[in-house]
């Protein structure tokens, strides 16, 4: 593999900060990433961290700064802390930690920026682009890039171990018992005579102490939680309807609001006539917001109803191409030297290899895709003259705080943010338009908490979708083997679009255009991957697995065509070509799990794909069959290399979910624009997978690597290509464009 640099890191503890009546423990980490394969030699990135154990008179609160959008982030962070701190997982309290709370900034300032550096991806691009300013703006917390486990695995355990040893020392000081005779259990320090002192009762004592540092972490054999099945800490609340999501919150005095934006993405509003709407029951106000208007009422449905009665005069509309043909043409036109963005893979001599003989050519397409988590986006904002308070589910708390402050005309540290549990995200909550609009409303109704809830139709049509992308293959086979592969990929830059909305420009190449393709772990003798940057089209944003969601499909689909031309077996030829030990083992695992043994026949087919994304090699085999009702997805086998499976049940659930998410979109989802207006407004036109279509999915987590990795995104990229390969094997139809239901029928 070689091209994927592993990260070295060292972690050490820094001091603590007294919290009102208590103490907080933290870890500060410096990482020195190797040179960026894309950008060359750059300054090392620094990361400072916030994982805390907060102890006060009420006991222990675990600060879980990674936002939870359904992936179990709070749970897994709590597990890592509870493991070393000897807490009962069923009893732990978690708090995502408001970014403006004093101890966050004073304890670790000026480097209070939590930052993660995955092996690839947006964060690494930004860090390695030398964008110190970006780090400062991004601030304390961001959740994304499957980094929660990868980044926090050591840090949270170290923070908890440090807290544990300090508590023991405090108990020793208080009782005169030797610290070596003291142990900890279930949230308490246990003395030799069996007496237990609850951690909370030691809060005052530890607040003034130097923290015990460099505590060795427990060996895996001692783990009580990690690697073992356990109940997620949010499971009971989610199965009883008792857990509040952001959309469920009720703040005293709150009014309900909704917005209607110019149907053309990014369009303006000239004026509106609210005469009829204002007469409707419960309507309190109809107000302008950027690009549209808001209706404020005493009930969400009344706001929805009144919004239909407002007569808008829409202003300048979107400047994107009027038709989808125009969007595709822009990508097609981008394959030029002028628009070349990166060429990080250039093995052998591709030009010579492809200068004669039979050249295999093909073109591939991936559409815009909405995030469409089931909880529509919402935010509650209250603004007064000097302060603001915000309740919302977000992956970018620091941006939210800054944007609210700017709109409200107050200082950022006067904005109190309460991060809420999210009903899904898939990257949707890396944007904060809803918070900005809620703030615009709240500024016009000072002192009143405003809950802005998007109708599903607004949520879907004004989403910033996954990038549209196109690829072109030129390749050659020799003597039954893949000899040359020249893959060119064009799309607009999702990172530029996304960060641009935060006022940040992103210099340098965009690794996401070719993510999962340039680093494909195959030793093809002549192998080139080139990224081309198309001009901006529709505004776009990170969608689960980001660039690898298109490039992983392109790379595997293109490789399949070459393998077929060579007359080789898709799995055997991949095994012959693979040159990375960890990737080879995941391929071998799915071969074993699926008992892969060549073609099935009788209208059945299997496909295989392997993509390494977010540092995780993930291989999938999919089996389909033709039925009278259409193609049926029968079985999926998945193997992924993550170094360490922290929670095997949640791991399996996330992998299965990632596969289902990817397959559903590959089967039947796309967002198309006509005159800048999204043509899909709700789940009837953007269905995804339904339960009856769901195949059996067998999962194996491999632990051969020494890096602990996250699993939220890596199962997504290989799925579409494995399905396309299976459909080809079953039917002879080669699918090069998603969604596949444009070309084949599914049962």
């Amino acid at each position: 593999m070689g091209r994927l640099k592993t990260l070295t890191r060292r972690a050490f503890l820094v001091g603590t900060a007294a919290v009102a009546g208590g103490v907080a423990f933290g870890v500060y980490t410096v990482r020195r990433p190797h040179e960026n394969p894309l950008l060359g030699d750059l300054e090392p990135g620094q990361a400072a961290l916030t994982p805390y154990v907060r102890i006060d008179g009420d006991g222990v609160t675990l600060i879980t700064p990674r936002a939870d959008k359904g992936q179990g982030a709070y749970h897994v962070q709590a597990v890592l802390l509870a493991e070393e701190l000897d807490l009962d997982l069923a009893e732990v309290r978690v708090d995502p930690g408001p970014p403006s709370a004093a101890y966050w900034n004073t304890a670790l300032a000026p480097e209070a920026a939590e930052f993660t550096i995955p092996a690839q991806g947006m964060m690494r691009d930004m860090v390695e682009g030398g964008l110190g300013a970006v780090m400062k703006v991004m601030g304390m917390q961001i959740t994304g890039g499957s980094t929660t486990v990868a980044d926090q695995f050591d840090k949270l355990r170290a923070a908890a171990a440090s807290a544990r040893e300090t508590l023991k020392l405090a108990a020793a000081d208080q009782t005169g018992v030797a610290v070596s005779d003291i142990r900890t259990e279930n949230g308490a320090v246990i003395l030799p005579d069996g007496r237990a002192i609850a951690y909370g009762d030691l809060a005052g004592a530890v607040a003034g102490m130097d923290v015990v540092q460099d505590v060795p972490l427990r060996a895996p054999a001692q783990w009580r939680y990690i690697g073992k099945p356990m109940q997620r800490i949010d499971m009971l609340g989610k199965c009883t309807g008792t857990l509040d999501y952001g959309i469920d919150l009720d703040v005293p005095g709150m009014l309900q609001a909704t917005v209607v934006l110019n149907p053309a993405q990014g369009g303006a509003l000239n004026r509106f006539d609210a005469t009829e709407a204002e007469k409707m029951r419960g309507v309190k106000a109809v107000l302008p917001v950027t690009g549209g208007f808001a209706v404020v009422a005493d009930n969400t449905w009344r706001a929805f109803q009144a919004a239909q009665m407002v007569v808008p005069d829409w202003g300048d509309t979107s400047n994107m191409p009027a038709t989808m043909e125009g969007h595709w043409q822009a990508l097609s036109d981008a394959f030029t030297d002028d628009q070349q963005d990166s060429r990080q893979r250039d093995d052998g001599d591709v030009d010579s290899a492809l200068s004669g003989g039979k050249i295999i050519e093909a073109e591939y397409r991936a559409p815009y895709l909405a995030h469409a988590p089931l909880e529509p986006i919402s935010a509650i904002v209250r603004v007064d003259d000097t302060t603001a308070e915000v309740w919302t589910g977000t992956q970018i708390p620091r941006f939210v705080q800054t944007n609210v402050a700017r709109i409200a005309g107050i200082e950022a540290d006067a904005v109190t943010l309460h991060v809420q549990m999210m009903g899904g995200s898939f990257g949707h909550r890396l944007e904060d338009e809803v918070v900005k609009q809620a703030t615009e409303i709240a500024v016009q109704l000072k002192g009143v908490p405003i809950k802005l809830t998007y109708a599903r139709e607004e949520d879907m049509t004004h989403d910033f979708p996954r990038q549209i992308a196109m690829a072109r293959l030129r390749g050659k086979v020799t003597n039954g083997q893949v000899e040359a592969m020249d893959l060119s990929i064009a799309c607009p830059s999702v990172i530029v679009s996304q960060m641009g909305r935060q006022g940040i420009s992103m210099p340098g190449p965009d690794s996401q255009i070719v993510a999962g393709a340039w680093n494909a772990p195959f030793a093809i003798p002549h192998h080139r991957v080139t990224g081309y940057r198309a001009a901006p089209l529709a505004p776009i944003s990170s969608w689960r697995s980001v660039g690898a969601s298109h490039a992983g499909f392109f790379q595997n689909a293109a490789l399949d065509e070459l393998i077929f031309a060579a007359g080789a077996d898709p799995l055997e030829e991949r095994l012959r070509l693979v040159h990375d030990d960890l990737a080879q083992k995941v391929l071998e695992a799915v071969a074993d799990m699926s008992s892969w043994d060549g073609p099935l026949g009788n209208g059945r087919g299997r496909g295989v794909a392997l993509t390494t994304s977010f540092g995780v090699p993930c291989a999938e085999v999919i089996e389909v069959s033709q039925t009278e009702a259409g193609l049926k997805l029968d079985k999926v086998w998945v193997a992924a290399e993550v170094g360490r499976v922290v929670d095997p049940v949640n791991f399996e659930n996330l992998v299965q979910g990632g596969v289902i998410f990817a397959l559903g979109h590959a089967m039947n989802c796309e967002i198309t624009y006509a005159d800048g207006i999204a043509e899909q407004s709700n789940y009837h036109a953007y269905e995804g997978m339904r339960l009856y279509q769901c195949p059996d999915i067998m999962v194996r987590g491999l632990e051969n690597g020494d890096q602990v990795r996250g699993i939220g995104e890596p199962p997504v990229p290989p799925a579409a290509a494995a399905l396309a390969g299976a459909i080809f094997a079953a039917t002879g139809t080669r699918l090069r464009e998603m969604p596949f239901n444009k070309f084949v029928d599914f049962a």
Binding site: N299, I660, L691, C694
Partner: protein, 153 residues
């Protein structure tokens, strides 16, 4: 108008055509019932109306008057779980969990009508409930577990 929800009688002053979903969520603060699509495409708002699973976004408040409405918080509580909820916890079904109120209400109604549903029946009945996280394999398994538990009981 008078509404009976989770066994409790309520007097609410709402338009006859306000969807039951919004009466429950905004007027009665029963936010265990979720808004997902508003057009009966996702099933997140599923409640029982006189024992039948319905999409509360499609039921006018006026049509629910006099009926028994059951929501997820009335089905069972954290310390007194319904068999379906217990099976959901046992199988660790939820990821984001936002659809699960509706999934559980749909599954509970299914098991009231068919104590031993086949995979085919589960596929048909549960396919109106969308899960964007993809917890379908666990939903299937949990329904079988709940069916077995309810049979024992």
């Amino acid at each position: 108008m008078k509404l009976t929800v989770d066994g409790v009688a309520h007097e609410v002053d709402v338009e006859d055509d306000m969807p039951l979903l919004w009466v429950l969520r905004d007027e009665l603060k029963l936010t265990g019932v979720k808004y997902g699509c508003g057009i009966a495409q996702c099933g997140a708002c599923t409640v029982h109306l006189d024992g039948a699973a319905v999409r509360s976004c499609q039921i006018a408040a006026g049509d629910a008057e006099g009926a028994e409405v059951l929501t997820i918080t009335g089905l069972g509580q954290p310390n007194a779980l319904h068999a379906v909820q217990a099976a959901w916890v046992e199988h660790q079904v939820a990821q984001c969990g936002y659809c699960q109120s509706g999934q559980i209400m749909q599954a509970a109604a299914l098991l009231e009508n068919d104590s031993e549903p086949t995979d085919e029946v589960i596929d048909i009945v549960m396919s109106g409930n969308l899960c964007r996280c993809g917890t379908y394999p666990r939903i299937r398994a949990a329904i079988h577990t709940a069916a077995a538990k309810m049979k024992e009981a």
